[in-house]
Structure formats: structure tokens, C-alpha cells
Symmetry: C2
Subunit: 370 residues, 2 copies
């Protein structure tokens, strides 16, 4: 099989169980990708990620470009070698962070000028630059540079933006033609919260051959109902034979609904960020470990979970670590949350294979749709 | 063999290689004890400590009494079970932290009143209370309550203080008589920087039977020369047939010199605290990972080290993690520093067995005495 081959092995309704072949191995889908913003999935190390069964992680182009620098990483032999991770890596294009983190952005047809959130230094991203950085990082899956329009953007702006995003996507593809090497390149559909613009964006992107297709611009402040409306409308429009990726989403239930809509790949900072805030996802729902009710609770965080945290530590101990601001709190909570998110996509995959996805989805709704 | 049995297997000059039997297993000496202040050795988990070969860790009575509380820990089955560590634990008496961390201390014959550094609440430690707390924690080795006199204390104050410390030591022993259970109790010699007072303190303590004897009140602001003068004078006065513990000391070279003076046990926050500040101890000396010279250094932190950090990551990556304030930086640096400190005592033990301790000590001096 060639790198980039996506094989669908089972379907159950719109939900798919498949495999995507990358230069660093096969990714079973549906899959959740832990976020390793600055060359590290926060609070855990590569061995932890392997022990947790993570099959692919995400790196942030914007962050790595600014610090330590993509050329420096290229001189180290690429991001895999630099961070000692030999499984697949997907890198975003940097666009999302330019629009959410940096200051003094100025958008033009050519690209986007911005100031670093670290030191205020000035930079310019073009589609070609985004590809060049991701080539230096050596990720298995690269993303095109896009503009993620803010929630509330009007129809005219959103249309103008998605058309530019399409032109940028074509420039990314031209900078790295199909079959140009071992890295894959995914397109990103935009169009805000206008269904006809979502359709238009995807229609335009389908004409450019990509190795996979993403939906961007969701989970940007809209209601769950709006997100789901756009998700269920747009996902089926993405090419059926290619891997589909819902960017930056979401809660365990969002992910299960994404799978239900036909999405194969997910990433989100939720499990890692919330872990550090003491919010933990379990088979019995969400809990906040700082609550007094856990002070003398000798039971594991999640009785259904077999992660290192749940096998060895009590809620009482985890609450103590959180209250005492111990670094170990971040680590143990992160291990559990990532274990839970990874178990959700694994269980979803099994349910699709068993033709039992709807009952799995109902079960997740009974836990989380409260 | 009974719990508390200390066997000296080899000597080389004053240096000793032995074994101390505790309720949670044998401790080979000389030994370094990583400090687990609040029920966690900062930034690492129990499995890491086992992988590093840690044989005993230290817990802080003052911290655990204030948060989460010794009675709460007793209800969890003790500190071992609470923190999921099944090897030996030594707890200090809380005295050192009362004098260094708390506010509004008031010392009397009965004990010491103090305010919590966390919430200002008022507390009173007596010798009996220090034993009661450590009984609740269930440590393998308990320490007597003592007053650690500040550096610069005059002769009269130091003498008055050491006499009270002796009376407190006797009260601790009375509160937990020899053979009273599975926990051992160590006495602590004080006497500041006056040799005759050091002699007097140890002479008084020898009359109270303890399971081991410590030197306290060193590394409190004095010069290395003053510390070594008192150390080499006092260590030989401690009972030869009992384990000897130098509290809160020190650098790798301090530890090797302590072993040279006849000390068996050491603890210090240096490897863990310095790791978090980016200061790393290696077979080639101390280095600070934030220095620009390491920005593109692909070599391991310490080419002689086989810890997880040195096996898998470059100085360039460790510097990036430090600069980016990634939590993983604390973890990887701590793993290395603990590995190094543990390797020093292991190598010292081997050198004693081989009759080569002086050459080992010279080698350590050539690296660290600069």
C-alpha cells in the first residue's frame, strides 16, 4: 500500500472504521490525537503516550515555528526525532493560532502578517511558508493554511474568506504536489455557519486533490446545536474515500457525534488542559477532583478504567495532589483523561465493527448529554 | 533478623557499606533518599522512583500534618498506601520546617507553637505529638522532634537548645519505647558549630537507645569548610553499630565526603529542586540547561548516564522544554538528577566493597571540587 492509502473496513450508518497509512505507520480510525503544542504533550512523555495506546499526536506549527524554530528542528532531524516520538504526527498550519493567539494580524491575499505572542517579533505566513515549515518539521500529515473566521462573521466576509482559503489551499498543494514525498497534505473546509458556504468550500476543495479533508471553524463559540447542525450537514459532503478530520473538537460526546456524522479523526486540548484544571472525564461522567466530597474517597477516579492513575491511586490522593499543587497532579490527571479519550474512540471503532454504534452512541449520550 | 537490624558488610577507612532492615524491606547503605515533601517526590511518580532504583524516600511531617492531615492519612491506611509506595519511608519530625517555614513560632519546654504557612492557623508540636503524627503516617523510620538552631546562634543559646533537644528526644523515646512496633526511631544530634556541644549532644543521645542516629543543624548557611569540620568531628562519635544519617545534605561531593566521614544515609531537595531550575548534575559536573550553548547540542545530558532522559532526549530538546516552561521539563530533569544522585551512592557502596573508596572520592573531587 502507498503512503496515504485510506481503507474503510467497516461502516455502521455514516460511521466508519478504517485505516490510514502514513510514513510512520498505520493509524486506525476513528482516532483521537493528543495535542503536543510545543513539542510535548503537556505533562506526559513519549513512553506514557505509547503506554496509553496513542497512535498519532498533533504538533502546532505556529508554536514550533516561533520556538524553538522549524529550521532548528530540521537540523535535529525533524520533529519525530527531536521529541523522541516514532509514531505519526499531524501538524496544523499555524493559521488557527495566528488568528487566536498573536497580536496585530494583517491579512492580505498573499498571507498573514502577525506579531509573536512571546516577544512581539514580526512574522509573515504565506501558504508556501506554512508548507515549508511543516516540511521542516517532517510531520506525517500537513494541513493547508486557512483562515478560521470568528464566530459571528457575516455572510459576505465568510464567503470572501472561504474563497481566499481555497486559493491558499491550491497554493499549498502547488508548493507540495501530490506524491511529492512521504508527507500527506489535508485540505480544510471553512464557511462559518452558512450551509451553502460550507457546501461551496468543500466543492472547491474537492477539485484540488488532497490526501484527506478537514472541517475547520467549529467549536469557536457557537452553541452545540449550531455546531452539530453544521457538522451533520458538512461531513457527508467530504469525499467518502478519504480520511475526514474535525479540527479542535471536542468533548467525548462531540467526538462520538462526529463519528456518527462520518468523521474519522479528532484532536482537542480538552483532555490535557482540563486535566490540569482538575476536571476529569470518566465512564460515569465529568468530575472535578477538587470537590470536598472526594477528600476521603478511597475509590479510583474511574472504576472502569485501567490506566496507571486508576490502577494505583485513590480520588483522595488525587484531590490532595491537586490541592497541594503538586506537579504529579498534572501528570496523573493527564494520563487518565488521555486514556479515557483514547478508550472512547477505541470503543467507537469496536462498536462500528460490531454494528452496534448507535447503541454505543446512546450510552455515551446517557452519560454526557446532561 | 529483627526490624531495625543494621549490618555493616564492608568498611574502607571510616566509610561503611551496610544494610538496614525496615518493615518495608532492606535498605542498602550508603543511601540517598529522594524527598517527597507532600506525599509526592515532585514531578515523578512511584513507578519512576522504582525504575530509578530508589530504595527509600522521605516524607515531611510538617507538610503532611497540615495538608492533607496525618489522621486523614491514617484513615487511608498510612502514607505508603496513600501515595502508593511500598518501599521504606523515613519521616522527619517536622521541627526543621516549623523553624524554617512557619510564622510566629514560640518555643517552650513543652514544645513549639507555630502558625501554618498555608492558612495562618495555629498549631502546637510537642515531642509526643511529633511521634503521634509519624505513627499515623506509618513511616518505617521516625525522627525525634528537635530544634535546629540557626547559623550564628551563640554558645549559650546552642547549649540550652541542645539540652532541650535531648529532653525532647527522651520524651519521643518514652512515647514510643524501643521495640514498640514496626517503626524505628532515630535520635538527632545538634550543637551548632561548637565541637564540645556536638560531643555533649551525641553523648546524651547515646544514653537513650535509638535505632539510628542523625546529625542535624548542618547546611544551614555555614561555609563548606565549617560544615566539613563539624561533620568529620561528629560522625565518628555516633554509635558505630547503628545507622548514621546526615540530615538535609547535600551536593554529590558533600554526600561522598559524608560517606568518607562514616555517614550511611542522606536526603536533600537539591536534585529535585535544582532539576526544576534547570540545574543538572552529571558525570562531567554541573550544568545549566538554559545556557545558549546547548541550543543545538544533540548529545545526551550525561553521556555516562542510562536514565530515561539521557537514553532518549538531547540537550537541545531539554533546553527547549525548559525555555518553553513545559511540565515535561520538570519530569525529565528530575528523573536525571535523581538517577545521578542514586548512582553516586551506588558507586560509593561498590567502591567501599572494592576497597577503592579513596580513589572514588578523589574522582568525585576532580569533577565537583572546582
Amino acid at each position: 500500500m502507498n503512503i496515504g492509502t485510506f481503507t474503510i473496513q467497516h461502516t455502521d450508518g455514516a460511521a466508519r472504521a478504517g485505516e490510514l497509512l502514513t510514513a510512520h505507520g498505520v493509524i486506525p480510525t476513528p482516532i483521537f490525537m493528543p495535542v503536543g503544542t510545543q513539542g510535548s504533550v503537556k505533562a506526559v512523555c513519549p513512553q506514557d503516550l505509547k503506554d496509553l495506546g496513542a497512535r498519532i499526536i498533533l504538533g502546532n506549527t505556529y508554536h514550533l515555528y516561533l520556538r524553538p524554530g522549524d529550521e532548528m528542528i530540521a537540523r535535529r532531524g525533524g520533529l519525530h526525532r527531536f521529541m523522541h516520538w516514532d509514531r505519526p504526527i499531524l501538524t496544523d498550519s499555524g493559521g488557527f493560532q495566528v488568528f487566536s493567539l498573536s497580536a496585530l494580524r494583517k491579512l492580505s491575499e498573499d498571507g498573514v502578517a502577525f506579531s509573536s505572542h512571546i516577544d512581539g517579533s514580526k512574522h509573515f505566513f504565506t501558504p508556501e511558508k506554512a508548507i515549508s515549515i511543516q516540511r521542516n518539521l517532517g510531520s506525517d500529515i500537513m494541513m493547508v493554511l486557512d483562515e478560521c473566521v470568528p464566530y459571528g462573521a457575516d455572510y459576505q466576509y465568510t464567503r470572501k474568506s472561504l474563497e481566499r482559503t481555497t486559493r491558499w489551499a491550491a497554493r499549498c498543494r502547488a508548493a507540495y504536489p501530490q506524491g511529492g514525498g512521504e508527507q500527506l497534505l489535508f485540505g480544510i473546509g471553512q464557511g462559518g455557519f452558512f450551509k451553502d458556504l460550507r457546501e461551496e468550500s468543500i466543492r472547491q476543495l474537492r477539485d484540488i486533490p488532497f490526501d484527506g479533508y478537514a472541517l475547520g471553524g467549529l467549536s469557536v463559540g457557537e452553541s452545540k446545536a449550531e455546531m452539530m447542525d453544521i457538522l451533520y450537514h458538512s461531513a457527508p459532503l467530504l469525499p467518502v474515500e478519504k480520511a475526514r478530520y474535525l479540527m479542535g473538537v471536542g468533548t467525548p460526546l462531540d467526538i462520538v457525534r462526529g463519528i456518527d456524522a462520518g468523521i474519522d479523526m479528532f484532536d482537542c486540548v480538552l483532555p490535557t488542559r482540563n486535566a490540569r484544571n482538575g476536571t476529569l472525564f470518566t465512564s460515569e461522567g465529568k468530575l472535578n477532583i477538587k470537590r470536598a466530597e472526594f477528600a476521603e474517597d478511597d475509590s479510583p477516579l474511574d472504576p472502569q478504567c485501567s490506566c496507571y492513575t486508576c490502577r494505583n491511586f485513590s480520588r483522595a490522593y488525587l484531590r490532595h495532589l491537586y490541592q497541594a499543587r503538586e506537579i504529579l497532579s498534572y501528570r496523573l490527571n493527564t494520563i487518565h483523561n488521555l486514556s479515557y479519550f483514547l478508550s472512547v474512540v477505541t470503543a467507537a471503532r469496536q462498536a462500528i465493527q460490531d454494528g452496534a454504534f448507535q447503541s454505543f452512541k446512546s450510552q455515551m449520550e446517557s452519560i454526557y448529554d446532561t
